[in-house]
Amino acid sequence: MGTVIGVTLKGIEAVPIDIEVEITGGLFVIAVVGLPDAAVKEARERVRAALRANGVLLRGRIALNLAPADLPKVGSLLDLPMAVGMAVESGAAAVDAPSLFLGELAMDGRLRATKGAVPAALLARKMNVPLFLPPENAREVSLVKGVRAFAVPDLGALLAHLRGETPLSPLEEAGVETVDPPAEPDLSDIKGQSGAKRALEIAAAGHHNLLLVGSPGSGKTMLARALRGILPPLTDEERLETLLVRSTLGMRTRNDRTRPYRVVHHTASTIALCGGGASLRPGEISLAHRGVLFLDEFAEFHRDLLEALRQPLEDGSITVSRASGSVTYPARVLLVCACNPCPCGYWGDPLEPCRCPAHVLERYRNRISGPILDRIDLHVSVPRLTPEELVCLEGQHGPSSGEIRDRVSMARQIQQERWKKEGFLSNAEIPERLVRTGIRLAGDVRPFLAQAARSMRLSGRGISRVLKVARTVADLRGNPDVRVEDVCEALAYRGGALANDRT
């Protein structure tokens, strides 16, 4: 590998590109070879102008090879290494040790922000080389530990640094701010719904998928939004994973540990949700990695869209394959779905009668309950309260989002400690095998579970779902072994929320 190295993105992975330049006599021309795309080809003009603006005049025939030659190079992030390569070849600067360069050039030599700064930083860390990058990307890269990075304001400053005239100072690692996520609405502001609030707490603690079913106006959406305020903070490792996906799309990054929260509208396309397109960009499910993916009006989503979610929900990652290649993105989301109990929305409502004919109810139930419901651990009814009941609850306040978040964070730490050896971060992730062997039960749980399975007609998958949730409940209560009371509570979130539900 040479000394001037650029990168190109393959999914969330940065691939090193060797920049080789040869300048010979002849008419002035810049030829770029090595499968450049349009943006890379056009870089010739930007690079030439930027070098000229900084006093480097190019002459003769300039051949530029981007190696490996058979890998397609995408985007404008190769501008800077190309410029440095030409400057070195023409004698305007010298690069002694291999270095990574990243950035798009303006005609006057300033550097513009690019995508993929975090993947490049990880690559630089792995190769143990310094990284030069645009100042606008400095913030996200400073969140990656152990990288020797330099923010370069313009090409002139970089050349001066390389010549040893005015050395740049390396970026300092930014400490992570512990900003509390916004609690809007705060859980203590939501009247009643204590059962659903408890389910939110369990979902946040164990990263369990959640289904909220209730009549219009019962507060499903508000509850789902309140989940944001009680999610535990991201760990360093998780933060880096979320940073990677965002950086791949060139999105702004926050300097705190707030988990992603993505709301998807039911008109979204499969590509928008799962990723894809010509450039194999990540979808919402990857942007929500380690955080929440919220599907409001779940019943309105197209069947094939929901089917597409099945595999990533199971595996925690999604592989996007197209003619142009295949890329794997992380997709470990906490799926929150909200829907009405029946098409008109008033099935079981105390105030309004349901007007749906029997066969419509049947069809609705069949449409929603498919394989995707099997992957949702917590099913919760959100009953609409009558005015009398609301009055009855007047003046009662539950715990605030902050208090709940503390409990949730504590429970999450216990889980991370327990599954450290297996490499899992939450109870919801653990596979079937570990459910049977890794969850310790108190002595009287087995007979009780057998009784419950009989009387509630639980399937094998149903039982392991209940056990996972019970493990989280036990973690919230601080029980080292799962007790009967934990299993009992887990059973309450089992099903029966939809109209005509026979479970």
């Binding site: 059962g195 029997a358 066969h359 919760v380 009992c488």
Partner: protein, 358 residues
Amino acid sequence: MTEHEEALLILNAWEGFHARFLESWAGMGLGPEEVLSAGNTLWEEIGLPEKCRVLATRLRDSGWAGRESEKAALLGTRLVFWEAPGYPGGMTDLPKPPAVLYARGKWPLPERMDAVVGTRRCSPYGSRIAREVASLLAGSMVCVVSGGALGIDAAAHAGALEAGGATLAVLGTGVDLVYPAEHGKLFSRIAEGGALLSEFPLSTPSRAWRFPRRNRLIAALAGRLVVIEAPVKSGAIVTARLAMEIGREVWTVPGRIDEWGCKGSNALLWDGAQPLVEPGDLVRLDGPSQGSLFKESDANGNSSPVLEALRVFGDQTVDILASQVKMGAADILVELSRMEAFGLVRRSLSGRWSAVLR
């Protein structure tokens, strides 16, 4: 098949036909076969409408009756004719009894029949009660009659079959069709453990007007009619009215007064229906138990404040329970699930819980 039967089959294919025609023709000294073979002149004289005349001519000349009876035999369907053995006696109480019945499955069924009917859009509570009442009846050797529809009807048939008893589904389509389509499995189970009955020729499709017509057969067949959850405008109320008109005993399960699906069945109480307060009353020989209040005891000794609150206040959400018994939501859910596992409480509609009375 005799000529008489063939003629009945053909005349029955016209939906306006009923057995009272036969009685009036008998007064004139005419049998159905004679009427059918006679020409238009006689038909006009005895007032058969145009539609019937055209249909009867076509069917008679194309040999339809033979084919129909062959088809029925292949399906294991028995044709039961007016005044022939096997024709249910209760039908004669109707103002317009059917001339031919198609019975698919076991026939004849036990003499004692009770009907269990109600809305298709029932609550989980309604379907549970229908099931329990039907099993109870089937357990005391009564054949459970219903309409084979979704909701209460389906629960009643299933309950009778579960108890190993006979059940009869009276259909508004031909007995070879399955309507609603999701009842294929249920219908084949009914045909095994009882019968599917219809007055309509084979392959008659479902039409809205055929169901009220079918309801009169349910009313006539049943000695007693139990209505479980019926809104004001519903087939079950039609059946109940018909049953009262021909002097059948009507029972109704009292429901909550503010619930749409109980308005009709509750209103029946005013019209003289018996309230079904204790399912056991249906099979008790000495009549309904009265004054049985204040004797309920908790046999299990499984008393908790949550259960007490549910028993006293009925359907409740977790919130209300929490504020009544001063416990946290999580603890309430633990209690509820524990009791659910032992069958002491049940989930009722959308996020509410109720106690199971025993």
